[in-house]
Symmetry: C2
Subunit: 210 residues, 2 copies
DNA sequence: TAGATTGTTAATCGATTAACAATC
DNA sequence: TAGATTGTTAATCGATTAACAATC
């Protein structure tokens, strides 16, 4: 279909919000209600819903269950997504646990590290393999998305390897700039860079948001 | 001065990259070299440098030390930024350690939690206070930026409190949508939402990047 | 001078917002 | 019908890119 990235972002937010309201709230919702809850404009909401082909009722607004069903169909994958974490340090293992606790379609199926003590660590309920065997396990376990929390030094190397093994989605927590082909979806998630950005904008207010 | 957000992002990347090259590389760098290393276009680089008022040499390019000095002046705060983490769970404590290990201007000066066992935990080398006293400590310790890794349920409440205590920068790791005044710089860093976004784009390729 | 680069304006592109017709 | 809402096109805004003059 080809939805704009910002629309995809918002659809995910609509879903998260409405899932918790699903039972309690009325079955229908107006664009301005949804907009108000997420600090958006009603037009933005209507445009997004138009783009995914959902039509509302002029009297009652949009049917919540139809909206949720449609978003699920667009965003979710039938068998969920298989995720692996590379680098089982503090951050890697925290992110791993965080995903496991969430009730999303994201399944962490493996971790990788170079440290032998971590490789034997099964405390997360999933196996941790030696990163040298990453290509093999990506194919065997049909891993879709890699979360990089390894050292910045090896990040590009790991990225190259997982890409040639078939991974097309990477979430990069390292501060390394990764050079990847266009077809790969790369999300940079560098905490320090983001904090420095916040630093600039609190020093020089009146500017853009996240 | 008022730099565009994207320019600020890139300036931070230029700095990170050049800091490691500072000694080894020649003192001057061409826009196309910098661009190539970060998958940007030379024009983008030149435009950014123009915006910060750095002029280059037609023969040699830009002087690396001048560039770094200028970026430092724009991005850094004279005394660094004081950061506090709210919620010392796995994620909070991992993020805390991650920042401590980085060599940035960001100083984590305190943590906050509701759990009494964590409040006594000094294993991070910084005090952890009861979140009920957060306003007091924000003012006392001159905290500039709050990192929210607490439960989504209390996130808005905590945000309101830290904002009225004077904080103007928030990095939100929770999945809660936060409603904050315009003058507050809010960076949403919700891992699950981002993974779901990656999921959509690897299912439907040919689209936007991070 | 010829060639490579910087510096900057104009055109383009994507996303948001304004405006408003259509509908219940 | 009057009023509120949806649906959609046109205008605007911010950021990138194309184009090119100026310079060493």
């Amino acid at each position: 279909m080809g939805l704009p990235p910002r629309t995809v972002e918002r659809l995910i937010k609509y879903r998260r919000l409405l899932e918790s309201y699903k039972e309690a709230e009325s079955m229908f919702i107006f664009s301005h209600q949804l907009a108000h809850m997420l600090n958006l404009t009603p037009v933005q909401v209507r445009r997004d819903l138009m783009l995914i082909g959902l039509s509302g009722n002029h009297r009652k607004g949009y049917k919540v269950t139809s909206l949720l069903k449609l978003i699920d169909k667009l965003i979710d994958h039938e068998d969920g997504f298989n995720v692996a974490v590379v680098g089982l340090g503090n951050l890697g293992s925290a992110v791993l646990r965080f995903i496991q606790r969430s009730n999303s379609q994201m399944k962490v199926v493996a971790a990788f590290d170079i440290d032998q003590t971590k490789i034997n660590d099964a405390s997360h309920g999933i196996p941790c393999y030696n990163v040298s065997k990453i290509s093999y396990f990506i194919q065997k376990m049909k891993i879709d998305i890699i979360i990089l929390t390894s050292s910045s030094v090896t990040a590009q190397e790991v990225a190259n390897e997982v890409i040639s093994a078939g991974v097309t989605g990477i979430m990069n927590f390292t501060s390394a700039h990764l050079d990847v082909p266009d077809r790969i979806y790369l999300k940079n998630y560098d905490i320090i860079t983001s904090l420095e950005e916040i630093g600039y904008f609190i020093k020089n207010p009146l500017q853009g948001k996240s």
